[in-house]
């Protein structure tokens, strides 16, 4: 990256475009691999999503998902890809904040951080339930 101040909107647009593309490609590849493993193992099991029961217990939290990924569990790998997909636009916001800071646009650095704060608040509110 260039010196602060030389940094332009055009650079930020390129970085944002690259993050979005990369995030989608990577997350979809992981979801695909997880899906293939899931179908290979459980293709003939019977599904029942008529009644809401949440997700299987072993992928309830981040720790369980990571453990499941290491044990090559299809559903855990899919969930990892989905988390990465959800993170992609959030990472984009983080990089926008850095970009505005490098442009010395402090008003927009603040606005971007405010958006991040709302998303973090959203994450925490989910934890309460």
């Amino acid at each position: 990256m260039e010196l602060p101040g030389k940094y332009k909107d055009a650079d930020m647009k390129l970085v944002i475009s690259w993050i979005l593309r990369g995030g989608i490609f990577l997350s979809m590849a992981i979801v695909f691999i997880g899906g293939a493993i899931f179908i290979y193992r459980h293709g003939h099991s019977i599904t029942d999503y008529r009644v809401f029961k949440g997700v299987p217990y072993f992928i309830h939290d981040t720790g369980g998902i990571i453990q499941g990924v290491f044990n090559i569990k299809g559903q855990a790998i899919i969930q990892l890809g989905i988390i990465l997909l959800i993170a992609t636009p959030i990472i984009r916001v983080v990089f926008s904040a850095i970009g505005f800071l490098l442009e010395k646009d402090y008003l927009y650095t603040f606005i971007t951080l405010l958006v991040l704060l709302i998303i973090v608040g959203s994450m925490l509110s989910g934890n309460l339930g």
């Binding site: 909107d9 647009k13 390129l14 944002i16 475009s17 690259w18 979005l20 593309r21 995030g23 989608i24 997350s27 979809m28 979801v31 695909f32 997880g34 899906g35 899931f38 179908i39 459980h42 293709g43 003939h44 099991s45 019977i46 599904t47 999503y49 008529r50 009644v51 809401f52 029961k53 949440g54 997700v55 992928i59 299809g74 559903q75 899919i78 969930q79 989905i82 988390i83 997909l85 959800i86 993170a87 992609t88 636009p89 959030i90 984009r92 916001v93 646009d105 008003l107 927009y108 606005i111 971007t112 405010l114 958006v115 709302i118 998303i119 959203s122 994450m123 509110s125 989910g126 339930g129």
Partner: protein
Amino acid sequence: MSVIVFTVILLLGSYFAGLLGSLTGLGGGFVIIPLLTLVLHVDIHYAIGASLVSVIATSSGSAAAYVKEGFTNIRLGMFLEIATTAGALVGAMLAIYFPVQLIAILFGIVLISSAIMSLWKKAEHITTEKTFLARKLKLGGTYPVNDEMMEYGVSNIAGGFFMMIFAGIISGLLGIGSGALKVVAMDGVMRIPFKVSTTTSNFMIGVTAAASAVVYLQRGYIHPGIAMPVVLGVLAGALSGSRILVNSTSSVWLRRIFAIVVSIIAIQMIYNGITGKI
């Protein structure tokens, strides 16, 4: 139904949903939720979770391309994302307390209004006047028209911001991008050129959906067995859709047919909501 049959049906259905959503500009969520709930009898909370994930994938995919072309107004998007993410958080919270029937009815109503709005021939009003707030927030911008950069201003920022809170709530509550509402706020209320409003709306949809997806994820609404075929199918469909060049006459017809189909689905959703069959 076995996992493999369920996955194949959902993959194909999601592919067509993504294709139609991209060709008509309405987004894939509109077909996915009725497909899951009415045809496959999946609980509506799972359907909302899966649809929301697919919304993030398709909007980020097209946003990546638009940002590079220079139509997206990043500052305007960022500023309005305060409203949409706050709204999305409220919407995701409300979804927990909203009865399932009410969600289905509301979904049907939003579906019909979006279909009607997509048929409306809108007149483009571009303003170059810069209001005090627009100057302060650096919201105006330029966009490419036939290799020339055209300047535009932004009017009624407070009104647009308010509409965006509403769009965020709907997105968080129903698991759709609510792109139609965002575009109305931008070209109807804030008088932004069409090209800029559609691309900036797309840019915002991913972040808006992510704000409520983090809540849904923790509440177990996003099930890997459902989200996997939905997200892969919708994204593939949207990619094919963006490669098909639709000429303007057939695009009008496509929109009309889609609006009729969508209205029938919407009535079915409302009916099932009222009779409690959802």
